[in-house]
């Protein structure tokens, strides 16, 4: 009996376990129709964004076969410098050449939207990842150590939460050029020290008092071991969940900042709407006439934001046992 040896190497078993838990998770997830819908939309947008390079190529081949200006230099479907000289007045309504019409500068709206999509993903996910990493580590440590460390981070969170984040970002926009990456970084850090630490700390506190922490402690585990091996794995599902919600927040905020013309981003969905607003197409009775200037981009923002939110809610019901159905 002493020759008890496990047949397979450990990593293989762990991989299998991981796959299995993923499968059970998927089984539960499948039930949530809204979350599935969210996931579907996200996948759609991901493909949509990745396909962008194809779009100008195909369109150019379709409508600019005979190349009056020279293919290589002139890019009519470029989202930033593109211009369609064949159409007399811009903005032009949707047509075969421009499925979603053109903007006042004569650029193709669909091309702008497609071009922006991967950027929205990068921005949202980067910001959310930063937020969650900061929030998880601070939340877990504050809960575990308590005392001064806890008080410091909680008061810090109080102050951060006191700042209206949009107003703060607006002020920051005066300091620096809010490029996509910088914006993601700032939003990530601001949110990470804010309310998410409170939520994750509360969760970590419930983990901290559970006896398996005591068991590890009484065996001589170090603080770092307990935080990283016991507390964080137990709050990680919740962190992941908040990541989904934070993606929504980040994309939304970027769109608003761009819409107000305060971010230095060359092209994004918010910028498209801002373009319409700043050139006066959202004023008064003409709103409905030029719907293609704002509706597609607005719908994209809304769809992507709500998809991440739906996904988060679906995951929440899996992760958070109190919401689970009996």
């Amino acid at each position: 009996m002493t020759e008890m040896v496990v047949a397979e190497p450990l990593w293989k078993i762990r991989l299998k376990l991981w796959v299995r838990s993923f499968k059970t998770g998927w089984e539960l997830f499948k039930e949530k129709k809204l979350a599935l819908f969210g996931l579907g939309v996200i996948i759609f947008f991901a493909i949509f964004g990745l396909l962008y390079p194809l779009y100008p190529m195909i369109m150019r081949n379709l409508f600019w076969k005979d190349d009056p200006f020279g293919y290589q230099t002139f890019m009519p479907y470029d989202p930033i410098i593109g211009f369609d000289p064949d159409i007399v007045s811009h903005p032009s309504p949707p047509s075969l050449r421009h499925p979603l019409g053109t903007d006042p500068l004569g650029r193709d709206i669909l091309s702008m939207i497609m071009y922006s999509t991967p950027r929205e993903f990068v921005l949202g996910i980067t910001a959310a990842l930063i937020t969650v990493i900061i929030g998880t580590i601070i939340g877990a440590s504050a809960a575990y150590y308590g005392g001064v460390i806890d008080t410091f981070f909680m008061r810090l969170a109080d102050i951060v939460m006191l700042f209206p984040s949009l107003a703060l970002l607006m002020v920051l926009s005066a300091f620096m050029e809010l490029t996509l990456f910088r914006l993601a970084l700032i939003m990530g850090i601001l949110a990470g020290f804010g309310s998410i630490t409170l939520v994750l700390k509360a969760q970590a506190l419930t983990v901290k008092v559970r006896p398996f922490i005591d068991a590890a402690k009484s065996t001589g585990a170090s603080d770092a071991y307990i935080i990283f091996r016991h507390i964080i794995p137990n709050i990680l599902p919740l962190s992941f969940l908040y990541m989904m919600f934070n993606v929504t927040g980040a994309i939304f905020t970027e769109a608003v900042l761009s819409f107000l013309g305060l971010a230095n981003i060359r092209m994004s969905w918010g910028v498209i709407i801002q373009m319409a607003e700043s050139s006066g197409y959202l004023m008064g009775a003409s709103i409905g006439t030029y719907w293609w200037l704002w509706l597609p981009a607005g719908v994209c923002i809304t769809l992507l934001c709500s998809s991440f939110y739906f996904l988060g809610r679906g995951l929440e019901e899996i992760v958070n046992p109190r919401l689970r159905k009996r």
Binding site: P164, A167, V171, A174, L260, G284, G288
Partner: protein, 383 residues
């Protein structure tokens, strides 16, 4: 309780000072300043330049200005605006604040009442049709791009249906001949609402003492309806009713937009907490007592699920400013949010600081109110 409140107030004051300091230095550190725009003018003589600098306080070093600011802050003086020179910042806020507050209090109240009643019903019949639709619609509105919603509402109600004015606070043509300023009428409207609220609260207090449920209901309904009727009559008799109506008409769209945008927040919180509460043993006990379903839901479950909603309410106040900037821009509503955007564009430092500080105070007071509300709602909490 008093001891706790004292401690909390002290905490808030400390927090506020840190906040003001951070805000001050942040804004102070912004590159460029209001005066720079004038100083660029080559025609100005050195004396005038010096004068200008002195006038706006730029002759002193930053830390001195900070101390002066803090001293003034203690006397509730937020300085003088640059772009509206020489109007005081407090005056500007006082003018703008009622509009913003009215907009937000109305929409927040409506969305919380809506969220509360939808949320509790959705949770009670989990996975029912109501639950599914409200959750879906709620989340779509909750995550909608706010400007899109505003544009859409303007388009639908203003352009297509033509039943509501597109934007602005008032209709300038109507007010050319008005005997009173819009602000006065507006304040009076606010006062009416306040009176109504007070009457309602008193009625609520009295009805709590009444013994039977029908008596309670009659008390509440009669008092509410009487106040509404009386106030409408008074307004009509005063002859200002067309002006008041104009203001109200202009308010509908922004309030609608904000309500649609925010009701899901409270609804989802309510739903989730309700789901939690429903599992508690005292709910089973209440059912076992033979109480009708709606009594168990409203009296036992919803009452206990109310607490997190209060927290949510306070947090949502923090977003007022953010939402305010967008909504007020979209509807050309001259409130705090618009003032903030303008101040940022003109680099009106004192106004900018003033507005940020003011919102900070606003949120902190809300925190305090939430603490008190908590104690009222939950007998277990005795500070």
């Amino acid at each position: 309780m008093l001891k706790f409140l004292g401690k909390r107030v002290l905490q808030i004051v400390i927090l506020l000072f840190i906040y003001v300091t951070v805000v001050y230095w942040l804004i102070e550190a912004m590159p460029g300043s209001f005066v720079d725009q004038y100083l660029l003018n080559p025609k100005l003589t050195p004396e005038i330049r010096e004068n200008l600098k002195r006038q706006f306080g730029f002759d002193k070093p930053a830390h001195i200005r900070y101390l002066i600011y803090m001293k003034n802050f203690l006397t509730l003086d937020l300085g003088i605006s640059f772009s509206y020179f020489p109007t005081k910042v407090t005056t500007i806020i006082a003018e703008r604040l009622p509009r913003t507050v009215f907009l937000f209090v109305t929409s927040t109240l409506v969305s919380y009442v809506l969220g509360y009643s939808l949320g509790k019903r959705a949770a009670w019949k989990r996975s029912g049709i109501l639950d599914k639709t409200t959750t879906f619609v709620g989340i779509v509105f909750w995550t909608i791009f706010l400007p899109l919603l505003a544009i859409f509402n303007i388009w639908l109600f203003g352009v297509i249906l033509k039943i509501l004015p597109l934007n602005q606070f008032i209709d300038p043509n109507l007010w050319k001949t008005a005997p009173l300023s819009a602000q006065t009428i507006f304040i009076r409207l606010l006062l009416t609402a306040l009176v109504f609220l007070i009457v309602f609260l008193i009625a609520l207090l009295i009805s709590n003492r009444l013994k039977t449920i029908p008596a309670k209901k009659t008390m509440l309904y009669t008092s509410s309806i009487t106040t509404i009727v009386v106030s409408i009559v008074i307004w009509i008799l005063s002859g200002y009713s067309i002006y008041a109506w104009d203001i109200i008409k202009h308010m509908v769209l922004p309030v609608l937009t904000l309500t649609l945008y925010s009701f899901a927040g409270s609804m989802l919180v309510m739903r989730d907490t309700m789901l939690d509460v429903i599992r508690e043993d005292y709910i089973t006990t209440a059912k076992a007592k033979g109480l009708p379903d709606n009594v168990v839901r409203d009296k036992h479950a919803a009452r206990n699920a109310l607490l997190p909603l209060v927290t949510n309410f306070v947090i949502s106040l923090g977003f007022t400013v953010g939402g305010g900037i967008i909504t007020e821009t979209m509807f050309s509503w001259p409130g705090i949010g618009r003032a903030y955007l303008e101040a940022l564009n003109t680099q009106d430092t004192p106004l900018l600081i003033g507005l940020l500080v003011f919102t900070g105070i606003f949120v902190l007071i809300a925190h305090l109110v939430a603490d008190v509300l908590y104690a009222v709602l939950d007998p277990r909490i005795r500070y």
